[in-house]
């Protein structure tokens, strides 16, 4: 089963199977101890850079900033959604703490 993944409109979107799924301007809580000094960075999504898949999890690298401390940058690969029977399902990104991984999401 192949899945088509793309960043569109100069970083405004993550598109999964030709459908725009994840948008900039969301506020995520991250488990990303290396990103900044906050226990749980409060991260504004400004710009998607790349999208990958790790098993059934769709992950993305994204530029943004922690609104508690102001640190900016790319905190690693972050899960944004899952594939269930080939269909894309959103994670509840604004309410759960998302684990950031340093490695490649592919």
């Amino acid at each position: 089963m192949s899945v088509s993944l793309r960043v569109l409109d100069d970083g405004a979107w993550v598109s999964v199977n030709d459908s725009r799924q994840v948008s900039v301007s969301e506020l995520w809580r991250l488990d990303a101890p290396e990103f900044c000094s906050c226990t749980v960075p409060d991260f504004v999504v400004e710009n998607f850079q790349s999208v990958g898949v790790d098993g059934r999890t769709i992950t993305a690298t994204v530029y943004g900033q922690c609104i508690q401390c102001g640190e900016t940058g790319v905190p690693g690969w972050i899960p944004v959604g899952r594939l269930k029977n080939g269909e894309y399902v959103d994670l509840d990104r604004e309410n759960v703490v998302l684990p950031a991984h340093g490695g490649n999401g592919n």
């Binding site: 100069d10 459908s19 948008s23 900039v24 301007s25 504004v44 710009n47």
Partner: protein
């Protein structure tokens, strides 16, 4: 590996997109195969169509490129007519109503809620009247900017219009220049006031004198690699070239070909020519241009007039083109303030009537999102100024109205983080009622951009506002970063971002407090920009002092999580989109 966008462009791009566009329009929105939408939306940009954000599927923004902001007699009426007929959608803007046109910071026009099915008819009407959306977006020569009064501005030293016209006619639709690595923004100006804003364009031709065969000749100095986007602002850099008007197309075309061949197509974030200039340096740009792209000896730079630049410079002289100004031919041009660049379609039509009655019917658009009615003779001036419409679109507005520039924001734009145009209107109204500017300050520029793409050119304003988020009492709210002291002029400067993530309802208070500190600490009659200049970032951060005031912001919540921020029932899935040609929702069959 080439990007998706590059792959799509290599399949179909440029003029040929039009046939496909018209075919889809004929058969309806639904006829675009789902797995090809991303590719087609990317391509449609070349013809000026930009798909609106999520919640608004099947609706498009349409940008009409008006070179140098020039609308010939009759064209303003056409803009009003198409806005009224085609730019209505399911959402009503509480300030601007149902149909409106936006004047952009690059002297173009934007319409929203355009239906794909209307495009052929709409293009036919535009084109029958000498207007087009070709290359208004996409990776190609964009709308050329400059001083919109070129040819008739009493302050000009060379008429830039013949050059702009030639560049526009040569490079619009030219297959050799239609597929560039990224957008290509050009400014050509002949006035000594700096109103071309060349410093923030990919390519700037600025008026300059050069001794040629013993004669002092007027032409243009060439600068390359300016731009504001993405936290990577750059001023255009001097490549030590002067060009005569008759050679301008050869040099400009040479540079766009150089960009075409050497720009980064692997990484869109690194694609603009500003990054190539960073990498190569100006000497190499000049060398490669000379060796590979022009077949005559380039002149070295001439004597520029940058020391006379006043536009957006924050000092004395013409900071914008609002107000009554003399033309070369003795008539007047009257610059009218259009708050945040947006005009209701009926107002556009009414202004078109006035332009015919008092002027020649022509109109001009400025980079500060305003409109000019040229060709008004002295004897008709008083009567024109007494028209009711000019109370709203004033030639002598409050500095807070006059200085406001705002981008599209969450109303339609997918990159946005905050609501912009309506908010800037509320800010300006509140500031006008509640804040006095210090003695002698009659210009104050506040620019609001909804994200770092910087479409409202925030970095070149006295106060720069840029969309962000923060938490207030634990809840996520829309916020703004505040930057200070930007401006153009002889020595352009980008704003310094001194205070981050101020909740939007505390921003007017912050500006009020800042201006109070300015009044208190000002030395003599120093300008705001000089005042900012002599303080360091920490001192400035102390002067900003965000504070709640009587200003209320009804759009604090996440306006991006709506299908339309101003709808009564605003949740993402409450909107009707996608819809068919007549606006009926299309129900998905899966």
């Amino acid at each position: 590996m080439p990007t998706d966008v590059e792959r799509w462009k290599s399949e179909v791009y440029g003029n040929e997109i039009r046939e496909h566009l018209f075919e889809f329009a004929e058969e309806g929105w639904d006829s675009i195969p789902e797995d090809e939408r991303d590719a087609w939306f990317e391509r449609f940009k070349w013809w000026g169509l930009y798909h609106q954000r999520n919640g608004q599927e099947s609706y498009f923004m349409l940008r009409i490129g008006t070179p140098n902001g020039r609308l010939d007699p009759g064209q303003l009426r056409v803009v009003g007519e198409v806005a009224k007929e085609y730019a209505t959608g399911p959402g009503t803007n509480p300030i601007f109503g149902d149909a409106y046109a936006d004047i952009t910071t690059r002297q173009a026009i934007q319409l929203h809620w355009i239906k794909l099915e209307d495009v052929p008819e709409l293009f036919e009407k535009l084109e029958a009247n000498g207007l087009t959306a070709q290359q208004a977006c996409g990776d190609s020569w964009r709308n050329i900017v400059g001083n919109p009064m070129a040819g008739n501005d009493a302050e000009e030293i060379i008429d830039a219009w013949p050059v702009i016209k030639e560049l526009n006619e040569t490079f619009k639709g030219d297959d050799d220049h239609s597929n560039l690595p990224r957008k290509w923004k050009v400014s050509v100006a002949g006035s000594a006031d700096g109103s071309g804003q060349g410093d923030i364009n990919d390519l700037a031709l600025e008026p300059a004198y050069k001794e040629i065969d013993g004669e002092r000749t007027v032409g243009f100095n060439v600068r390359v690699g300016g731009g504001l986007a993405r936290n990577e602002p750059r001023h255009a850099r001097d490549i030590d070239v002067w060009v005569a008007p008759e050679d301008a197309a050869a040099v400009a075309g040479g540079l766009s070909a150089l960009f075409r061949d050497h720009g980064d197509r692997e990484n869109r974030y690194n694609a603009r020519i500003k990054f190539l200039v960073d990498e190569w340096g100006t000497e190499k740009v000049r060398e490669v241009l000379q060796e590979d792209y022009v077949d005559f000896e380039l002149e070295t730079a001439g004597e520029d007039v940058r020391d006379q630049y006043t536009y957006n410079a924050g000092g004395d002289g013409r900071n914008d083109l609002v107000g009554i100004h003399k033309q070369k031919d003795g008539k007047n041009f009257v610059g009218l303030n259009v708050l945040v660049g947006r005009m209701g379609a009926d107002d556009v039509l009414e202004l078109a009537d006035l332009a015919e009655k008092y002027g020649s019917g022509a109109a001009r658009l400025t980079q500060r999102q305003n409109i000019i009615i040229p060709d008004v003779p002295d004897e008709k001036l008083d009567e024109f100024l007494a028209e009711d419409l000019l109370e709203h679109y004033s030639p002598d507005p409050s500095p807070f109205m006059r200085g406001s520039v705002a981008c599209t924001g969450t109303e339609f734009c997918s990159l946005s983080i905050v609501e912009t145009k309506n908010r800037q209107v509320r800010f300006a109204r509140w500031l006008k009622e509640n804040v006095e500017l210090p003695e002698g300050i009659d210009q104050f520029h506040i620019h609001l951009s909804g994200c770092t793409a910087s479409c409202a050119q925030p970095q070149i304003a006295d106060v720069s506002l840029r969309g962000m988020k923060t938490r207030k009492n634990g809840d996520p709210v829309e916020a703004l970063d505040i930057g200070l002291g930007g401006g153009l002029g002889e020595e352009p400067q980008f704003a310094r971002w001194v205070t981050q993530r101020v909740p939007v309802d505390e921003v007017p208070g912050a500006i009020k407090n800042l201006l109070a500190s300015f009044e208190e600490l000002r030395e003599g009659d120093e300008t705001f920009r000089d005042f900012i200049q002599r303080h360091d970032d920490d001192e400035l951060a102390d002067l900003v002092e965000p504070e709640e005031t009587s200003y209320e912001d009804p759009m604090m919540h996440n306006t991006k999580r709506t299908w339309y921020p101003y709808a009564e029932e605003d949740s993402l899935d409450a909107g009707p989109a996608p819809t068919n040609a007549d606006g009926t929702p299309i129900t998905s069959d899966d």
